[in-house]
């Protein structure tokens, strides 16, 4: 072989590598919606267990509950598998009339399905079980609490001191999804109530069924032929695209119809692209700084809590760092929840903070260990806080860590200050109030307990709010609780989330609500 022919061979080999990828690549099919996001968090698609963002976002599409939150106004509760309901005279029971509906298997929805679904969720005692525990239901008493009256009626009763309005809110949570007892029973192994099978399969009456789930790869939903609410598209493919840069490219090129979880920079760049639109949906996520009041006398001093409120550059973080992905919010109830405070009384005011610290007898400089999720935007926010706190002589020693370690240290009270967020578990003010305003005796794992903050009076007020039957009075109680906590507490509420979803402009009627589970694909059209 001459050198010339060798060179040609070499170039040919290189060229073949370059042109090998030549292939026609398809835009998404007309009957299929392709969503690019991370699904690495998904653990289980069993509604009695799934509590991660990916699984929670799927439940409204796979299952129905007895009642559901209205898509546009989550505070309104409307019928789903129950056509109507009636509260018991004691205020501690509800009787539901079951609708004529069918599961994807073709089996009719019966009271037995309701009983099976709710009792298995309590007995399995998985992550979201605490929601149904609010009724006072335990593995030992739940069988007696959910009973069949006749072929069309089921009665739920509870011992806990909670009102029927709150009870209905609890039943809108994904864990209250109704599964097909006959289908799931055929898959039971030992005493797992079909949990292993439901981790990757569905047995609901929602608009879609799980056609295929491959962990870390894709979730494929297919239209449920039995559904009374026929979806417009036949398939939904939720692809795992772990890298946000790749997600952006996919939606830009038309190989994905929707991309979730893009960074603020990417969203900014895509706003001006043709063929793409950015949908901004307020979310119920609230970000806050948590101070461990038991860590040392300074952190337990209410003067420090008050000063810290003036050492946060709320506008800077919201506008410059997060650019539309969050807005300033300073109360524990997110805007959109009944009674949420919408005023934001605190701004960055270093001089005022210094005075409060001095008046409170707190000597500076002082150093605080600040544990933060090792992820964005938490690290950027932490750096902003480090800069503004430093102006008042407070050094924040940022210590990045993995989420489970930060949560574990929170539970054990082994931290000084941390940056956290809270997403309500169901559409009711109590979901947040029970976290931030209950700690009578350190017996329950609430955020207040993690802050080492004993609050018997606020606890009593929170418990009276949850059992209040009068809606207006209930709202007033939550407003009062928020004001008290806003005034003095070891939490500094800073931001409310704003979910930015990137869609191809061919997509119509995509709906997403305030709460994490409120993602709906049934009306989506191309």
């Amino acid at each position: 072989m001459s050198l010339r022919s060798f060179r040609a061979a070499l170039l040919g080999a290189a060229f073949s590598v370059a042109v090998l990828p030549l292939a026609s690549f398809a835009a998404t099919p007309d009957d299929t919606l392709v969503v690019a996001q991370s699904i690495d968090d998904a653990v289980s698609f069993d509604p009695a267990e799934g509590f991660e963002l990916t699984t929670v976002q799927s439940f409204n599409n796979l299952y129905q509950r007895l009642v559901q939150s209205n898509r546009d106004d989550g505070t309104k509760i409307e019928p789903a598998l129950a056509t109507s309901w009636e509260a018991g005279s004691d205020g501690k029971s509800l009787t539901f009339a079951i609708a004529d509906a069918k599961f994807a298997s073709g089996n009719p929805v019966r009271p037995e399905d309701v009983i099976f679904s709710l009792t298995r969720a309590v007995k399995l005692n998985k992550s979201p079980a605490f929601i149904l525990n609010e009724f006072g239901w335990t593995a030992d008493n739940v069988d007696a609490a959910v009973t069949k009256l006749d072929d069309k009626h089921v009665k739920l009763s509870w011992a806990a001191d909670v009102g029927t309005g709150f009870a209905l809110s609890l039943l809108t949570a994904p864990i209250a999804s109704i599964v097909d007892e006959q289908t799931v029973s055929a898959q039971i192994k030992g005493n797992d109530f079909g949990n292993e099978w439901l981790k990757a399969n569905s047995a609901g009456s929602g608009a879609f069924v799980i056609a295929n789930y491959t962990p870390h790869e894709a979730l494929v939903l297919q239209a449920n032929a039995q559904s009374s609410n026929k979806p417009k598209l036949e398939n939904i493919i939720i692809r795992n695209v772990p890298d946000v840069g790749a997600r952006r490219l996919l939606v830009e090129q038309g190989d994905a119809d929707i991309a979730r979880g893009l960074s603020a920079d990417q969203i900014e760049a895509l706003k001006t692209k043709s063929g793409i639109k950015v949908l901004a949906v307020p979310s119920a996520r609230t970000d806050y700084i948590l101070i461990n009041s038991k860590a040392n006398p300074t952190l337990g001093n209410p003067a420090f809590w008050e000063a810290a409120r003036y050492l946060v550059d709320y506008d800077g973080i919201s506008k410059s760092l997060l650019r539309g992905q969050s807005s300033v919010h300073q109360a524990f109830l997110p805007v959109g929840f009944p009674g949420a405070l919408t005023d934001n009384p605190f701004t960055l005011n270093v001089e005022k903070a210094k005075k409060i610290l001095a008046d409170g007898g707190i000597k500076t400089p002082l150093k605080i260990e600040f544990i933060v999720f090792n992820d964005q935007p938490f690290l950027s926010i932490a750096q902003s806080l480090q800069s503004t706190f430093a102006q008042a002589g407070v050094t924040l020693d940022i210590q990045p860590g993995v989420a489970s370690d930060i949560y574990a240290r929170g539970r054990a009270g082994k931290f000084e200050m941390t940056l956290r967020y809270w997403i309500p578990d169901y559409f009711d003010a109590h979901s947040n109030a029970s976290a931030f305003a209950i700690n009578k005796d350190n017996s329950a794992n609430t955020v207040a307990k993690q802050a080492g903050w004993l609050i018997p009076e606020l606890t009593a007020e929170t418990l009276s709010a949850v059992k209040e039957q009068d809606g207006a009075k209930r709202v007033a109680l939550y407003e009062d609780l928020q004001k008290k906590i806003q005034q003095s507490s070891p939490y500094i509420f800073t931001l409310q989330g704003n979910d930015q979803v990137v869609l191809s402009d061919k997509i119509k009627n995509y709906a997403q609500g305030l709460n994490a589970d409120q993602v709906y694909y049934d009306k989506v059209e191309k």
Binding site: L3, F6, R7, L10, A13, V17, L20, P21, L22, A23, F25, A26, T28, T32, V34, A42, V43, F51, E52, K126, S127, P128, A129, F130, N133, K199, A200, A211, N212, P215, H216, E217, A218, V220, I237, R239, N240, V241, P242, D243, G245, A246, L249, L250, E252, Q253, D255, G401, V402, A403, S404, D405, Y407, A408, G410, R411, D425, A435, A444, N445
Partner: protein, 334 residues
């Protein structure tokens, strides 16, 4: 027979050591698998139940012995983060990595050898400069960045390549997975379009991964040939009138075959470990990403299972390389 038993014993000890070190490192990490699983909102009773179900309430030696016992019976346990049996997860993810690594090493070894030989034979020319440039780029450019750049150029700008993933949506669920290797499965499905799509999806990630192998193999090949060309037997052969091509292909390369085989095998092994970053950028569901995700979740069964499988592949590859090098040495002696 004795050497085979000795080899099997050393493999068993290696894997045991690997399992022990992996177990210790995972347990020493600050990740609480139970809390990772149930989340911070879960009640204390749910958290305690999860700890019990995961066996975390037992002492570390008992946990390890329990794992070994079940692993020896062929059960790698259930992944905490996927909820699926680890064996099933590995059966799905490992072929994806093997396929990617194999194509990458074929490209890497082919081009690396060709470039190294050409550079050694034409020192100081453009091909030598190209070899050095490729080595420099292959070693110094972060693979994550290069992957994104390649996607931007060949996928987003030129539209020559498909986007991230192993197949286009239209093919992904129309081909039944049989072997887990997309090329093989699409081929036996008889769908030509799906096969071409699988090739197209492999090309970019395999090309990006191959660059590192090209860099390693071409540099070593070039340096080794240049060293050999200074040896007396080469001078003698040249004095007897043998041309450069003949000297390199008939005399030098057979002498270097053991070295080259070793470096190719090492490159292949490093690709098999799981090219985590490439798999992340190209949404490639391989064992590298599986292992990394498991590590962040403190998913002990998945971490141990994947580590043992990758470790076994490593050991087997080393053994095959040793056999190959010995065989080549014997041929040279003859």
């Amino acid at each position: 027979m004795v050497s085979l038993v000795r080899w099997a014993w050393s493999v068993a000890l290696t894997l045991l050591g690997l399992a022990l070190v992996t177990f210790a490192m995972t347990r020493l990490s600050p990740i609480d698998p139970a809390l990772q699983l149930v989340g911070d909102h879960a009640s204390q009773s749910t958290y305690q139940q999860a700890r019990q179900e995961l066996g975390l309430d037992q002492s570390l030696p008992i946990q390890f012995l329990h794992y070994l016992g079940t692993a020896l019976s062929g059960n790698l346990g259930q992944s905490i983060s996927t909820g699926q049996p680890v064996a099933k997860d590995i059966a799905r993810t490992f072929p994806a990595t093997v396929e990617l690594a194999t194509v990458a090493i074929l490209i890497g070894a082919g081009l690396g050898l060709a470039l190294g030989i050409a550079a050694a034979m034409r020192r100081g020319t453009w091909i030598d400069s190209l070899c050095r440039l490729v080595s420099l780029v292959g070693y110094s450019v972060p693979i994550f960045w290069l992957g994104l750049l390649m996607l931007l150029l060949f996928y987003a700008r030129l539209h020559w390549a498909p986007g991230p993933g192993r197949a286009d949506v239209v093919f992904q669920y129309s081909v039944k997975p049989v072997t887990g290797f997309a090329l093989v499965d699409t081929l036996i499905s008889g769908k030509a379009g799906a096969f071409l799509d699988a090739i197209a999806h492999l090309a970019l990630p395999a090309g990006v991964l191959a660059l590192h192998s090209i860099a390693a193999i071409s540099r070593l090949t070039r340096a080794s040939i240049i060293t050999e060309l200074g040896q007396e037997y080469v001078t003698t052969a040249r004095a007897r009138g043998a041309g450069l091509w003949r000297v390199v292909f008939v005399h030098v390369l057979p002498n270097l075959s053991g070295t080259i085989l070793t470096v190719v095998a090492l490159s292949y092994a490093s690709l098999l470990e799981g090219a985590v970053l490439t798999e992340t950028v190209f949404a490639w569901p391989g064992i590298g990403r599986y292992l990394t995700t498991a590590m962040f979740a403190g998913d002990m069964p998945a971490i141990l299972g994947a580590t043992l499988v990758v470790g076994t592949a490593f050991v087997l590859l080393n053994a095959l390389t040793d056999i190959g090098v010995t065989w080549l040495g014997a041929r040279k002696t003859r």
